[in-house]
């Protein structure tokens, strides 16, 4: 995907959220760190522009909820968690860059539930690359990108990487990094 | 083994006669029958010594054999065996036994145990003060007549200047040595190691080198006053070496010994809190260690003595401050001296052997130990392979205890044969009795 595609996808997802939830009231966005966090903020900006709704945005680091702690040589790197609103009773839309095995989302659901009891949880992803290992599905998808399991999908976000783009690349020798690796 | 032994083709190093050449040695009937070449070896068992060194048996001025009282750690017999395997044919056994060897009765008991074992000569040292309390002199005369050559309160230091003076003075007619474990108790209270950079780093209380030097300086003055024979055991400080240098200029009959572990190791080795390196006096800094090496090379320190101090496994496997100080040493002494001093050229072989045999034999006035190796002299000798490389393992000791400061180290030089009064008590590195 290039920058233009990403922008169009973001706008479309924002419209879909409004349509599906019959407005933006009761909706909160929680981005899965890193990158999902920035995407969530962009979606919030779109929701404000389209619907005039100031939707709460939070960032969630799921590292402590991962199912592979103790299986890697080093404890996984930790990012910031910032949810300064009550999730109870809200429709929380989790936002992530790539949906892959589904394990990150599983961790995110566990984490979210420790913050309170949302009325509903939906999932918005920029890229769905298939190869689910758990029964997880996205409600909103920017683009479906079929890949081989060993290929690398890299999402670049301006706020973090200086540009907006999605790359699918050949398998590399190094183990996949935590970010974007086991989504 | 037959009573006649023919040691063939060894490099014979005999400090007492200044001999250092390849040759043969014939032993029979407890004595040396001949040294050199062209010896009539008919009927003798040949022991091939190609590539090996043959020298007088080593003499240890300072070993704790723990009997009577702590036979769980060592006995006179096991200690003798450990000594023999280390190339020793004479050992001076320390008196801090339970009960303390402060009377002729216990002296006789220890001698009898040694005779019965028949592996090594054991000369029990006698305590200077009763019960090692530092207050009342023991019957020095009676013990001297019972064969005691060295008196010491080792383990403890005679704190009272008055008692030390009296001991040096009273002992003069008996030509015995008063050995001092030099340690000012007040200055070294609560000590765990040497006071310096490392004690501060490791959070352990330290005893400064001055705790030893203060007593040495005092005792040298008392020796000057009384004319007694002072022996400073296990010198640990370069400052002590300096004091000895100054005293030597005044030609006082002063002698001193140093341990192999003080020659090889330093306080920096304690960063792992290894209790086998916890010793009294403590291992001091590298500067001190180098001073000790120079002192030994110069002859200011007359002898290497092991301070063989066996301890039970459960005593050493404790928190550092709970573990008793001490390392074993009889079986590693020669190898340590060869590896750490002779090999790097700090000490030549003949001098090293002199410090480990002739020198200590002279201090104890033993005329049947330390050479010279000549026809008619007592056959107390040992043969070692200078090139043999071996690793010090806990399961490889003859000693009952395994608390060696050298565990896991690879050393070069190993005793192959030891002859005690003509008997081959160690053959191919294995004790025979």
């Amino acid at each position: 995907m290039d920058e233009a595609e990403i922008r169009r996808a973001t706008i479309r997802i924002a419209h879909e959220i409004i349509e599906r939830n019959k407005g933006a009231s009761g909706v909160a966005l929680v981005g899965i760190a890193a990158r999902g966090d920035d995407l969530a903020r962009r979606l919030a900006a779109e929701l404000l522009r389209i619907e005039g709704a100031d939707v709460p945005v939070g960032a969630l680091d799921i590292t402590f909820y991962r199912d592979d702690i103790g299986l890697r040589s080093e404890a996984p790197e930790v990012h910031e968690t910032r949810i300064d609103f009550d999730v109870t009773g809200k429709t929380v839309v989790l936002v992530d860059d790539v949906l892959f095995t589904g394990r990150t989302i599983r961790s995110a659901l566990d984490a979210l539930v420790d913050f309170g009891r949302p009325q509903a949880v939906q999932l918005a992803v920029l890229v769905d690359r298939g190869h689910r290992e758990l029964p997880i599905r996205a409600d909103y998808v920017g683009k479906n990108v079929p890949t081989r399991a060993d290929e690398q999908v890299r999402v670049a976000i301006r706020e973090v990487d200086g540009e907006d783009a999605v790359y699918v690349g050949a398998p590399t020798a190094s183990a996949p990094h935590a970010v974007g690796g086991t989504s | 083994m037959s009573r006649r032994l023919f040691f063939r083709g060894a490099r014979v190093v005999d400090p007492a006669s200044q001999r250092d050449e390849v040759g043969d040695v014939l032993v029979g009937d407890g004595r040396i029958e001949g040294v050199g070449s062209g010896l009539d070896s008919k009927g003798a068992t040949v022991v091939d010594c190609d590539g090996m060194v043959l020298a007088p048996g080593l003499v240890d001025l300072h070993a704790h054999l723990r009997e009577p009282g702590r036979e769980d750690k060592e006995t006179v017999e096991t200690g003798s065996r450990a000594a023999a395997v280390g190339g020793y044919t004479a050992v001076c056994a320390m008196p801090n036994t339970e009960p303390v060897t402060d009377n002729a009765g216990i002296v006789a008991e220890v001698r009898a145990l040694a005779e019965r074992a028949g592996i090594c000569a054991v000369y029990p040292a006698g305590a200077i003060t009763r019960g090692l309390e530092g207050e009342a002199l023991t019957d020095i005369g009676e013990m001297a007549q019972a064969g005691v050559r060295l008196f010491t309160d080792d383990g403890r230091c005679v704190q009272s200047s008055r008692i030390m003076r009296l001991a040096l003075e009273y002992s003069r007619p008996f030509d015995v040595v008063i050995g001092q474990h030099s340690q000012d108790e007040a200055l070294s209270e609560g000590w765990q190691m040497h006071e310096g950079h490392y004690s501060a780093l490791l959070g352990l209380s330290g005893a400064p080198a001055e705790a030893e030097e203060i007593i040495v300086a005092r005792d040298i003055a008392l020796a000057r006053l009384t004319g007694g024979r002072l022996h400073i055991t296990h010198v640990s400080s370069a400052g002590t070496v300096e004091l000895i240098r100054q005293a030597a200029r005044r030609q006082l009959p002063l002698t001193a010994d140093v341990t192999p572990h003080h020659l090889a190791l330093a306080d920096e080795d304690l960063v792992t809190y290894d209790t086998n390196l916890k010793v009294n006096p403590p291992l001091r800094s590298v500067e001190h260690r180098d001073g000790l090496r120079d002192g030994l090379a110069e002859g200011l320190i007359d002898a290497v003595a092991t301070d063989h101090a066996p301890h039970a496994v459960e005593e050493k496997e404790q928190e550092f401050d709970q573990a008793p100080p001490g390392t074993t040493g009889l079986e590693t002494a020669l190898a340590v001296v060869l590896t750490e001093l002779v090999e790097p050229g700090i000490l030549d072989l003949a001098t090293a052997l002199r410090r480990m045999s002739t020198g200590p034999a002279h201090i104890l006035r033993l005329d049947d130990q330390g050479g010279p190796l000549e026809p008619g002299s007592a056959a107390n000798l040992m043969v070692f392979d200078p090139a043999a490389e071996w690793t010090v393992e806990p399961g490889g000791f003859e000693s009952k205890s395994r608390n060696s400061a050298f565990l896991g180290r690879t050393l070069r030089g190993r005793v192959v044969h030891t002859v005690f009064r003509g008997d081959l008590v160690v053959h191919e590195g294995k004790a025979q009795k």
């Binding site: 680091d61 590292t63 402590f64 909820y65 991962r66 702690i69 103790g70 299986l71 890697r72 040589s73 080093e74 404890a75 996984p76 930790v78 990012h79 910031e80 968690t81 910032r82 566990d110 984490a111 420790d114 913050f115 309170g116 | 765990q192 006071e195 310096g196 950079h197 004690s199 501060a200 780093l201 490791l202 959070g203 352990l204 792992t272 809190y273 209790t275 459960e314 496997e317 404790q318 928190e319 550092f320 401050d321 709970q322």
Partner: protein
């Protein structure tokens, strides 16, 4: 991350930064309603405390529990520790129980290192004799970083009985490693020989040091030390090295006064200023749990070599 934390010197500068950064996230966990994450679920952390220390032990206990680990407490008040079982035998028992980490506080310097010889678990030093107290130093540095935004170049005065203080050692090593400017202050009898080699300045006068000290860290001075004659009298000590109201006014603007506790009022700190470090102590409790969670997570969150 290292397997055992026995001394601050075991950590690289990068390790320290990582520990403090990760502690930020754990502080956030402490603000949630459910102050628990499943990160160390199924792991067993043992608190082996031979010395009484309710605060440190509870801090470690909470840290482990908030990571969902199981906690076992072996303290002097109960169990075989009081019955005189040897450290080795206790270690072998804990090993058999499958401990993943053992947090040990002991009065003998070096005992955590000795413990590592007998167990496969990770060993964390919670204070050994007069040697070190690494987690206290890390928590102190976290608090300093929080307050000043940096540790590099920070001027810190550590005042008091440095010789007998494990906190002083760990803190000095940690601060030097992170590039702070440390001055040790105390009478010559209470500063270890060769402390200058630790990368610090040593001063025997307190007054000239205070005007430049952004952090003034007061060490506890036990009355026992006067009995042992490390200084002649409490009065003399307090006069020369005690933190009084007057001395506090010479500290630079924004300076932070710290004390590892418990305070000996009237000795190293005058009663009138005792509540100044008190205010930091509350922060320290929260920070302590976060830093200990960070350590447990980083040390146990990777593969454990069996």
């Amino acid at each position: 991350m290292i397997k055992h934390l026995l001394s601050v010197n075991d950590l690289s500068r990068e390790d320290v930064v990582r520990i403090l950064d990760t502690a930020e996230s754990f502080r956030e966990v402490g603000t949630r309603v459910i102050k628990k994450v499943p990160a160390l679920r199924g792991r067993t952390v043992v608190n082996l405390f031979y010395e009484n220390s309710t605060r440190t032990r509870i801090s470690f206990e909470l840290a482990a529990k908030r990571l969902s680990a199981d906690v076992i407490n072996f303290t002097t008040s109960g169990s075989s520790v009081a019955k005189g079982e040897s450290l080795k035998d206790t270690a072998l028992t804990l090993q058999a129980m499958g401990a993943d980490a053992i947090v040990i506080r002991h009065s003998s310097s070096g005992s955590p290192m000795t413990l590592t010889k007998w167990v496969h678990a990770s060993v964390l030093n919670a204070g050994d004799g007069t040697h070190e107290h690494p987690t206290q130093a890390l928590l102190d540095m976290y608090t300093m970083r929080e307050r000043f935004g940096r540790i590099e170049g920070l001027t810190v005065a550590i005042v008091g009985d440095v010789l007998h203080s494990r906190v002083a050692r760990s803190l000095t090593f940690g601060l030097s490693k992170m590039g702070a400017d440390v001055t040790l202050v105390g009478p010559p009898t209470l500063i270890p020989p060769d402390a200058g080699a630790w990368g610090t300045t040593v001063s025997h006068e307190l007054d000239p040091v205070l005007p430049k000290a952004e952090v003034c860290y007061m060490l506890r001075v036990q009355r026992e030390r006067q009995r042992q004659q490390f200084f002649p009298s409490i009065r003399e000590y307090a006069r020369l090295y005690g933190l009084t109201g007057e001395r506090v006014s010479t500290l630079p603007e924004g300076a932070m006064i710290m004390h590892p506790g418990p305070m000996n009022r009237g000795v190293e700190i005058a009663s009138e200023v005792a509540d100044l470090p008190q205010s930091v102590i509350t922060e320290q409790v929260t920070n302590g749990i976060a830093v200990r969670m960070s350590l447990l997570y980083l040390m146990l969150g990777g593969t454990q070599d069996v």
